[in-house]
Amino acid sequence: MPILILAWKSLLNRRFTALLTLLSIAFSVTLLIGVERLRGEVREGFTNTVSGTDLIVGARSGPINLLLYAVFRIGNATNNISWESYQAIANLPKVAWTIPLALGDSHRGFRVLGTTATYFAHFRYSRDRGLALAQGEPFADLYDAVLGSEVARTLGYRLGDPIVIAHGTGDVSFARHTDKPFRVAGILAPTGTPVDRTVHVSLAAIEAIHVGWESGAAAPGRSPDAAQTRELAATGALTPKAITAVLVGLKSRIATFQVQRAVNDYPEEPLLAILPGVALADLWRLIGIGERALLAVSAAVVVVGLFGMLTALLTSLNERRREMAILRSVGARPAHVLALILGEAVFLTLVGALLGVALLYGVLLLGGPLITDRLGLVIGIGPPSPAEGLLLAAVVAAGVLVGLIAGYRAYRLSLSDGLLIRV
């Protein structure tokens, strides 16, 4: 293919502008594929904010509302579930495990969650990943707290630090439970889920915070100190009367709808059971528009990059009419002239796309640990997914189209110019 050698030498001769075109294509491809990959991870991460849990149960309200407070710790439950109802659910024959959740308090802007040890054993996110402690232990003592990674990082807490938990959820709460300081017993590894922004304590601890605060404010002299409260806990007096929500794991998935119905029809109390996967997917449809907009913007960047190539090719054509007449004079066909331009466009697009993908892998390799550490997002360095392959193919196809447009123009020019050298 002598014409391709000529195309290559011609390109080398214009290497500076060619390099700029190449880089603009490469960067736009990096952006496009990067956004696509991130988008996939974010969607995946979002719809897997909770996994392994078959049902989420709360007081009767809307599914999205239940999801928001039980999973994302956003807003408040309008009603609680009584402890008796919780026991009844936990004792259903098809139920394998339950994680009770008690929300209501906060610590310097982060929500405090009362739960049990089953939380650390059974909570799953992102396709069956369990919670791991980066440091320390799950709570053992009444006044032990386990921090989500972001809580620890933002507030600069280390193991053993004392923390004070406020009553209510306000950012700056006047009612601080200063009389019962907690101790940081463990810090969780990042998950990229709301767990990172949660302070975990035992259910009994939530009750303990409120001993002597029943009226809603500290009652001086009536509030027992920490040691007295611990004794109280030992007697079982700190068993909560109500919780906010329950995550339920079943022995078999087949029973999901049966149990869901049983909970929804629970006669003693109006309850609602939802399937987390379905509710999460619904919620994503609501808020996922932004992600598609992001992809559209990055696709537009690629289009701009390709337009840059088209402009460069068409501009070069005028300077290259002499070259084409010379080639025609030594026997080149107009098709050769088309191939010359098309070859250049295809080469620039292919190499630009490859370079862009290589660049993305470089960024992921170097920056991946940082992204995982900061956002809890694990962005895979695997081979391109079918969707990414499709995007790449679309980019290359668009590049071929650009080459054909410019090549056809060169073809027409060389037909009409013939051996006329126009300068």
Binding site: K9, L12, V330, G331, L419
Partner: protein, 241 residues
Amino acid sequence: MTAVPVTSPAPAAIAIRDLRFRWRADLPPVLVIDALDIQPGERIFIEGPSGSGKTTLLGLLSGVLPVSDGALTVLDQPLNRLSAVERDHFRADHVGYVFQMFNLIPYLSMLDNVTLPCRFSRRRRARALARGGSLNAEAVRLLAHLDLDDPGLRARPVTELSVGQQQRVAAARALIGAPEILIADEPTSALDADRRAGFVELLFRECREAGLTLVFVSHDASLEGLFDRTLRLAELNRAAA
């Protein structure tokens, strides 16, 4: 009129009968030539005022432009009946072409410029190899014939060559692989007066050695005497009338 039997032993290198060429169907013809014969090895000087269709005629002879009407036979090939691709092949194999100026491809070396036709024609490649052993050796040989044997010059980008040097490189390119027909469209008009005759002499020497037919277009009447025959396009072309 009765047809006169043709008695010439060798067929003409170029034969035109009732040729018509128009650039576009809606435009009047630019060229109308009833008959023209050019014998093999002949050196033809074509002159004519600007716009009389000299370059157009060369485009037809080299097979770049399609004949609108009539017969054009070059080296026994009926160009008016060949397809565009066949005419391109024909040109690659049989025609060397020299432009008025800007003959060289700026991103190719001097040798690559000279050997360029061998990339498009197997025949010329084979002939050049047979003659010189390698394409570059043949290019060097031709360049030396045209007084361009300085290796230092060869290493420089072709854009740094003087106009006269560029025209000689173009001549070497037109000659490589021994095509039968050499077409030159005002190749000397960018040269100063002293150099013109020298360049034409060089071309003649090469043509004589290889037995080439030379079709040479020029405005410069001072060169006319060097050629076997002069064609005045204004007289030949009935379209102008």
